[in-house]
């Protein structure tokens, strides 16, 4: 996992949840393009991408291992208007992440924290599933945000290994966990789910079964990688 801090001349600003397409061109003209979620809040001066290294990837090994300060590459964005959260949406904000799916949700929590000082914002809950404690990203920052804000709750599910004394969940996200952590349907939360395809599929199905209307559930799948 690597966080890139980018200086983008002429960046028009973005909404929390949007992504960029990164295009790399080899010397022989071969091009590879991938989408990466923006991790930084809209008001931040630099654009941050948190990239997970996929061993068989064409783009992520470059962005995690090879890239150096002052390297230049092509970006297209900001992109997307569907998986986006804006602070004036006052419904309770329910965020459900699997693995590096936490990245666009982190942009939402960072944005929410930044505007909270001056404006009223909706309460937020994050349910974050990772294989182990070490694979969680933004751990210290999430802890700090939650300690500063009584309207923010963060719950973890560690699916493979748990440190001794772990008091969080020890299994994949399931219906009982969603009932524990996320508001019931009659509280009308807005729900954002981001993670590997199989995880998002399960969570979205359970949310509908729990009575959440489909338009209130926004999903972003990123393929089969990163088994929970």
């Amino acid at each position: 996992m690597n966080t890139l801090v980018l200086d983008v001349p002429g960046w028009p600003g973005h909404h929390a949840g949007q992504h960029v397409d990164v295009r790399l061109t080899a010397e022989d003209g071969y091009q590879a393009q991938r989408s990466y979620s923006i991790a930084s809040a809209p008001a931040t001066a630099h654009l941050e991408l948190t990239v997970e290294r996929l061993d068989d990837g064409e783009v992520s090994p470059y962005l995690t291992d090879v890239v150096r300060e002052s390297d230049v590459f092509e970006l297209r964005g900001p992109i997307g208007g569907y998986f986006v959260w804006l602070p004036h949406l006052r419904r309770p904000l329910a965020l459900i992440a699997g693995g590096s799916g936490v990245v666009p949700l982190m942009a939402m929590l960072r944005h929410r924290a930044a505007v909270r000082v001056a404006a009223e914002v909706a309460p937020a809950r994050l349910l974050y599933s990772a294989r182990s404690a070490d694979e969680r990203i933004y751990n210290a920052e999430l802890e700090r945000l939650a300690s500063e804000d009584e309207d923010l709750r963060v719950a973890y599910a560690l699916t493979r290994t748990q440190p001794s004394g772990w008091t969080g969940y020890r299994r994949r996200i399931d219906r009982a966990m969603l009932q524990d952590v996320i508001w019931p349907a009659d509280a009308a939360p807005l729900i954002y789910v981001c993670g590997p395809t199989a995880m998002v599929e399960v969570v979205a199905t359970e949310l509908v079964e729990l009575g959440h209307p489909a338009p209130a559930i926004r999903t972003e799948r990123f393929g089969p990688s990163g088994k929970p």
């Binding site: 909404h15 992504h19 397409d21 091009q31 989408s35 297209r76 964005g77 992109i79 997307g80 208007g81 569907y82 998986f83 986006v84 804006l86 004036h88 949406l89 419904r91 009308a188 807005l190 395809t197 209307p213 489909a214 338009p215 209130a216 926004r218 999903t219 972003e220 799948r221 990123f222 393929g223 089969p224």
Partner: protein, 101 residues
Amino acid sequence: MRVVEDLVLDGNAIAGDLAQFFVTEATAALAVCAHCSAEGPLGGGVLYRGAGNVLRCRGCGSVLLRIVNAPDRMYIELTGIRSLEVRVSCAETSADPLQSH
């Protein structure tokens, strides 16, 4: 024989490609499926990514659109979209999804 399986994603994954064709952010646009009349944002459709991108209706599975990227051009087929609705106010993303319909 090796079976190559398509990636299954959401319509938001083609937001960048759609931006090559539409002036307004298209994944927030409400599409009506020509087959089952279900209505929803393009970003919420089921996207199959193989050699090209095929977006299907989450309700009935019919093809809504296809996008193919070639080195120097892009093709789009809007096979199964009866209508598209976009917001023309200042922020197309500002709608509360539970109140818009």
